[in-house]
Symmetry: C2
Subunit: 327 residues, 2 copies
Amino acid sequence: MSSAIPISPLAPEILTGLQRVATLFDAQLASDFPAVNELCRYVERYRGKMLRPTLVLVAGLATTDDGTPLRHEHDIIAATVEMIHMATLVHDDVLDEAAVRRRGETVNFLRGNETAVMLGDYLISNAFHLCSRAGDPALNLRLGEVTNTLCEGELVQLSRRHDLSLDTETYFEIVRRKTAVLVGAACELGARLSGASTADVAAWRRFGEQLGVAFQIQDDLLDLLGDEATVGKSIGRDLEKGKLTLPMILHIRGTSGAARTAALDAIDAKDGAALRAALTSSGAIDRARLQAVELVEAAKRELPTTRRTGARELLIELADRVVARDH
Amino acid sequence: MSSAIPISPLAPEILTGLQRVATLFDAQLASDFPAVNELCRYVERYRGKMLRPTLVLVAGLATTDDGTPLRHEHDIIAATVEMIHMATLVHDDVLDEAAVRRRGETVNFLRGNETAVMLGDYLISNAFHLCSRAGDPALNLRLGEVTNTLCEGELVQLSRRHDLSLDTETYFEIVRRKTAVLVGAACELGARLSGASTADVAAWRRFGEQLGVAFQIQDDLLDLLGDEATVGKSIGRDLEKGKLTLPMILHIRGTSGAARTAALDAIDAKDGAALRAALTSSGAIDRARLQAVELVEAAKRELPTTRRTGARELLIELADRVVARDH
């Protein structure tokens, strides 16, 4: 966990905060039933980069002066967004029939789809319960909007599986909803809980959303190009499940003749090697990578003035890592 | 829908209320995406007896004087509990691999498990969002507790599938959590929103919870004895999926020798006819039915004094119907 936080004057405060968030997360899920607790231990193992809670804490610190502590509500929202994220991972693995996640076997692989569906529901329910413990109806309302949007993104993506006519505009709308809105809310709510102005809160949301889209493009690239040992989860699932990702769309819409046919045939045959070869030679992979980098640059330009020493540098490094990561 | 409400001086007010609730329910789920709206039309078709929203409205009316209107918050909570219930139906049908619900094909049958999982998530998310619109953090907190408990009940039930050692105590604990707590919350919150005393609110919750357990036993009996055309949903799923229900548990624990072996063999072979024969001749079916009736009587005794003309009679008739229904 600690290796995910860049070296920074803020690092000790963030790391202590993430420990509190992890404790709150685990305590929220604790059940009277050993069978439930056993399942929750799989979820603890899924805990990875903790990008979303980190962004809540960093946005919360960045918008206050040196020495001002975070509020308990920051911890609650940080744990809540991570729990929502975990619920989507558990259900996504059911949807993707994935066997590996964070270098371990998935809940659906180990315990069956039925248990994975219900464990995801338990996480969603606990996320809303935890959020309610902050006692601020505006937080519930905002996170309810976010998860509605997230589910819509997933439903639209499902409805467009195997649809070769998917354009980049629809792709970006799906990704904004299914991935970016939660990352945006993490930044927005972190800043809002520190009393940032309405204009600044909106800028934090835009920063997070653009970062979230870049994050998803990088995920698309890793699913296409990465190897399972490094990425630490099942790869090639997008091709397997008929999900058209940005490099595929850029290729299909930017080529004609034999180059286009080669990619369509590879998608049809679910031939990852042939698809990689086609998308590499057309430059579609490079173009997708460039779009992710440009989104990170655009995100950085959204950042409002920060008050805490070292906050801006830390945020810029976190943003750069989104597209530099290999897992 | 209207046929589910007994003839009563309160019937017109309840029916008008349920129309408002249905409108609120549908408006909450409306999406910018036609693909999402199309899926939500399946959910509208699932709408059945509307027992839970009816209980919110009746409890809300019963605890105020004649002529006092319901609050908008009653409608919000009524629609919220129905949406939570619908989400559990959609995910239960995935868990049970059921093909038929409310005389129509299920979402998982028509559109696949993946879409059904995500549609259920969309319903859960919208339920919490809708509840948040009431602006009262105590409502969010209570419903979050209720859905946590509900998911725990489902997870414990899953962990005990095919477990012939399941006892009635654990059975009742599972049923209380997975079914009764939501029915209890419907009554409790209806009364609470009308300003009932703490003692009365607790009595309303106990009334609803006992009714909920009786409801589940009746569901168990219908799954075992009913025919699909009358019940209107896939039956025999409990046996198929290894769920031990009350009549099975009463038989296994109340017989020995050939009678016990006959039932165990029928469970093992998933032979519904043989199981019905064994459970009928041992009296286990009659004993389960009697327990449901006794729970309804116990529920009625919990009812606090009502203030609205006709409310008590309506509640008693609703309670009696829980165990008299054939669908």
